[in-house]
Symmetry: C2
Subunit: 346 residues, 2 copies
């Protein structure tokens, strides 16, 4: 394991953390502007890969939509690649600064800014291409649904969408660092109090984390492969089985995505690829279980990207059954869901 | 300088970052619950210092308010210290889980939960003590105003407030790591584009960052000392002068607080004290300036903690004049304010 620990239990802040960061929205109201977009722009793998795909896909004279233009970086890349018109849609107030940036780059006549939610936008002409960095934690997310919805309304016949396809991957992992962080609430008494009530909430949450492929207890499986224009990206439902290759502690699952942007350009958030802002996703097991080589890990995985309850765009569901070598029935069954991480009165 | 850099320019995410974190609210809606309160509880300096102050201040039989009880940690500390009644006020839905935690600790009969904004709360009896971890970036913040407002309405004569007093400190600093991060927008062309428009926004923001006292170009000055029960904590206005002790690049100012909680217990977020979640605040200079030893740095500092514009609870203002040794007039004047970091159309 190369990953660094944030602390397995209740641990103090460390000066080894990154030295400087934008302050949260609570103090200056600018989180949505500079903190978030600086975070995105600082990821050169993400941004350069998207620009490379745009350069491969945009044809001179194209009419393009950039959905969620943010700092305008992809809209400007489309202009530079020869787009005749770019409709840059952005609901956030950053659009006012982005407009000035685009003008400073001499692209003010090509880019048309639309300060609205995309669902409320009607474009004046059919478009050749919709571009959007619409990737959620493990690929699909509510933003991706907005892209698909706009494509149905505005894309001309034969028009394209960037990204084109998203694939999801999962592997069972041994990672005591990650597990100890999640499972700290019912160990000991933090500050002398019983905080075990929080454990159910913590176990049913998903986390972003760095993983090393060496933490895998079995090879990864592809959970889904979705073409944005043809398939339903609002949810993923998949049952999959893993055969444990080495004995160890099963602490949960590592999830990530691989996306085909267009023109043969791919972006991958796997532990083996260069680091991106997405890191990987950790789906903790309700409690660590020792598994022998040969154990079958049956995973019933669900990801819903559209809102089912207010202020909660979607949820993860992961139900696990462990069948030891030679056994007929599971030794352990865990049914976990991020819906269970909502605090309840009892 | 011991601090680690997040990257001076547009830099890629690093696997050296903390390995695991709760996912943002956008995905599961639980940011306000577990991510934020885990972050607070993980700061053992903060939490243990508050608990130590509570143990020094709470007298058996006291009626206490815990304003913004969150995970309930301070409310439980008040119970353990002998409080007869604790009114735990919390507007966030975490209160539903916290109630179960408090019951699990056998304190369900002592703690009365109130699921409201404190401004809408009328207590059934006068209280002896109001406890609140109400500290903002540099001490005062909009939460502190809520505490003071509740104290005026609900504290019995002779009643107390915890924290009792907050002091603000500032020092001029040399820190090219911090300055390079802030001043990256008009250097080079990120991804081949002119992004200099963002520089004005970035220069007028404040940042949280780690500092080393060795980065100071002059000794710190105390900007304010405010007793919460007697003084106006809604704003700080102060003009102060520093005399540069060693030549170097002036990159901005480092700010922090020291707070007197009660019973002689103090908490300090200075670069010389143990790390806390607050780190320090970086107020960047609009551009770095070389200063000779003996240069006078005149700072006109303002901090407003209550909202003047929507979604923006307060703002920082820092106006700097640099007067070289022997000169009669300033060589440089910079007038900066976080109000200028709001994106404008032109």
């Amino acid at each position: 394991m190369r990953v660094a620990a944030q602390g397995t239990s209740l641990a103090n802040p460390s000066r080894a953390e990154p030295s400087i960061q934008y302050v949260p929205v609570a103090m200056t109201g600018q989180q949505s502007l500079m903190a978030f977009h600086r975070h995105l722009l600082d990821d050169t793998v993400r941004t350069e890969t998207f620009i490379r795909a745009i350069e491969a896909v945009v044809k001179p004279g194209d009419v393009v939509v950039d959905l969620g233009t943010g700092s305008g970086i992809l809209a400007m890349a489309c202009c530079r690649a020869g787009a005749r018109r770019v409709y840059a849609i952005e609901a956030n107030e950053i659009i006012r600064a982005t407009k000035r940036v685009v003008e400073a780059n001499g692209m003010g006549d090509t880019v048309v800014f639309i300060h609205k939610e995309s669902s409320r936008v009607t474009l004046p002409e059919p478009v050749d291409l919709i571009v959007s960095e619409c990737l959620g934690l493990m690929g699909p997310g509510d933003m991706m649904m907005s892209v698909v919805e706009l494509a149905r309304r505005s894309l001309r016949e034969g028009g394209r969408i960037l990204p084109e396809r998203v694939e999801l991957f999962i592997a069972p992992v041994e990672s005591s660092l990650h597990s100890d962080y999640v499972n700290s609430w019912n160990r000991g008494r933090p500050y002398g109090f019983d905080m075990s009530i929080y454990q159910e909430i913590a176990s049913n949450n998903v986390y972003v984390a760095w993983f090393d492929p060496e933490s895998f207890l079995a090879p990864q499986q592809r959970i889904a492969s979705l073409r944005l224009l043809d398939d339903d990206v609002s949810k993923v439902e998949k049952q999959v089985g893993f055969r444990v290759e080495r004995s160890g502690q099963l602490h949960g699952f590592c999830g990530w995505f691989e996306v085909e942007l267009g023109g043969g350009v791919r972006l991958n958030s796997s532990p083996s690829d260069p680091a991106t802002i997405w890191k990987q996703v950790f789906l903790p097991l309700e409690q660590p279980v020792h598994v022998e080589a040969g154990t079958e890990v049956r995973l019933d995985f669900g990801l819903v990207t559209t809102g089912v309850i207010p202020n909660m765009p979607g949820y993860f569901r992961w139900e696990t059954a462990l069948i030891p070598p030679g056994a007929a029935a599971p030794s352990h069954v865990f049914k976990q869901s991020s819906l269970k991480s909502i605090p309840r009165a009892r």
